[in-house]
């Protein structure tokens, strides 16, 4: 059987892509998910704060996912859970395996990659000391506690102040653990302000900025850690050590897109972010294969994942029904000074519009986003405040795209006078 569309990954990205493709008239759509249920990472994010943009109400992760899972009913979209995708090929064959059907090769006219991201582990950041039990990523702890119902420790130190770590500081405290400290290498937190307030301050958990763990002690189980202040070179400063007795260390040191399948398929990946390189319609370097969600870039807000994934689903439908968009005279999108992680990197000339997402590399007060075609200013958008933790968004309309004479545009962030 030849599917119109196969979606790899049943998280919010995969669900939204499948639904949007259905709406645009694709018939046979299959979602493949390795877990026993759909919903992806949202199943373990039991806290609230999802859906404020998309549903205009504050939902928990499972509620947000649940709404999309309900929308599948009656659409004829098939979901195959407990199935691991092992390989994706450029001629759009999907190799997968599950306990009931064994090994299968499925064929599709189009594919959406929506595998999400995984956490950086301790190996990626190297802390000196022993390797006892009790050191785990914050996301793994979240899964143990929220889905399986196992507490992972009683006295906890958290390394990294990303949102997952902050959320877990509150969660462990509410479940009766003592969270002794949250330790952040940088002079500012990587998490949202609201999470500092409601996850740390509410429970008097100290946040040590410009600090790092210099030693983890214990043979079989963690028995304690030492932290120290770091200088501007991010090296520990002697004499600033503080010891904690703890049985657990949670690592919350960032996420990286899950792109083994993509890389093995020979699809272009941005080596700096490990994200899939996409066009404005979420098409990858291989026509007919699209990507969306955390596999492209790590999103803070699931609402934007949904929007982006609907775009991918619609583009897959267009590809199946009308064929590929011409890649001639494409417009490249470049990063100006202090701008990083731009998505997309290329725009089809025939695009109706294009949304550009990026992060700035430092904090900006009264400032502007400027999009230039050579020396010509295409767009100039004022911003009161921009920070690396928050994704910025610029929308280029059809008429702005028409005005582009060259074959590349550049996005700048700059301070402006009030």
């Amino acid at each position: 059987m030849m599917y119109d569309l196969i979606v790899v990954g049943g998280g919010p990205a995969g669900l939204a892509a499948a639904l949007a493709a259905k709406e645009k008239g694709l018939d046979s759509i299959l979602i493949i998910e390795r877990d026993s249920q759909l919903g992806g990472i949202l199943n373990q994010c039991i806290h609230n704060g999802f859906g404020l943009h998309y549903f205009k109400e504050e939902l928990t992760g499972p509620e947000y996912a649940g709404r999309f899972i309900k929308m599948l009913e009656g659409t004829g979209i098939k979901a195959m859970c407990d199935t691991m995708v092992l390989a994706v090929t450029q001629d759009k064959k999907i190799h997968c395996i599950n306990p009931t059907d064994g090994y299968q090769v499925l064929e599709a006219k189009s594919i959406v990659l929506a595998m999400g991201c995984r956490e950086r582990t301790r190996g990626a950041i190297s802390i000196p000391g022993t390797r006892p039990a009790g050191v785990l990523t914050a996301g793994a702890a979240q899964r143990f506690v929220n889905i399986e119902g196992h507490m992972v420790g009683k006295r906890v130190v958290i390394l990294g102040s990303g949102d997952i770590g902050l959320i877990m500081a509150r969660r462990m405290t509410l479940e009766g653990a003592k969270v002794l400290a949250c330790v952040e290498l940088m002079p500012y937190s990587g998490g949202l302000q609201r999470n500092i307030v409601q996850c740390l301050n509410d429970f008097d958990i100290p946040l040590y900025l410009s600090h790092t763990i210099t030693e983890i002690r214990g043979k079989n189980r963690v028995e304690g850690v030492t932290i120290a202040k770091v200088g501007p070179d991010r090296k520990p400063i002697e004499g600033t050590e503080i010891d904690f007795d703890c049985d657990t260390v949670l690592l919350s040191v960032g996420l990286i897109p899950e792109n083994e399948l993509t890389r093995n398929a020979g699809i272009d990946i941005d080596i700096r972010t490990n994200g899939v390189v996409v066009w404005e319609n979420m098409e990858t370097s291989v026509p007919g294969i699209f990507a969306s969600g955390n596999v492209v870039h790590v999103h803070d807000l699931v609402d934007y994942v949904t929007g982006e994934s609907q775009k991918a689903g619609r583009a897959a439908a267009e590809y199946v029904k009308q064929g590929m968009r011409s890649r001639e005279h494409a417009i490249s999108v470049n990063e100006g000074k202090d701008v990083g992680f731009i998505v997309p990197l290329k725009i089809h000339r025939e695009a109706m519009d294009a949304e550009i997402f990026f992060r700035v590399r430092r904090i900006f007060e009264t400032s502007a986003i400027v999009v230039k075609d050579g020396d010509k200013v295409l767009a100039h958008l004022k911003r009161a405040h921009m920070a690396p933790g928050e994704m910025e968004r610029v929308k280029l309309s059809r008429s702005l795209l028409d005005a582009i004479e060259g074959d590349e545009i550049t996005v700048y962030a700059e301070e402006v006078e009030e």
Partner: protein, 115 residues
């Protein structure tokens, strides 16, 4: 004057609440920030999310939330009430798990379908 960060949405506006002048709130970008600022100084409240046991072997926990904010100092008491509960499947999203917590009119509700 109290300085706060609004936690109602990810934007995190920096609020100022003037206790001497009728709790006037400034720095908010929307009306919800005004309400948050007033409550935070007079009677701070939080939504509590957690999990409860189920009788399912595949999904041993079901996530729950308070369907409104409860007084902050009641958070741990609310958590304790969940300890002895075992929900029988099927469980439906929105189903009440504990009603009228501490006479606030607010309930713990399930946030997921568990079959």
């Amino acid at each position: 004057m109290k300085e706060l960060i609004c936690i109602t949405c990810p934007r995190g506006c920096h609020l100022k609440v003037d206790e001497e002048n009728g709790y006037e709130v400034t720095g908010n970008s929307c009306p919800r920030g005004k309400e948050y600022g007033y409550n935070e100084v007079t009677n701070p409240k939080r939504v509590v999310t957690s999990t409860v046991r189920t009788n399912s072997r595949e999904y041993p926990r079901c996530p729950v939330k308070t369907n409104g904010a409860i007084p902050k100092e009641k958070m741990f008491d609310a958590m304790k009430l969940l300890d002895d509960i075992v929900l029988a499947v099927p469980i439906y999203c929105g189903e009440k798990v504990i009603e009228n917590l501490f006479d606030t009119g607010i309930d713990f509700v399930a946030t997921k379908d568990v079959q």
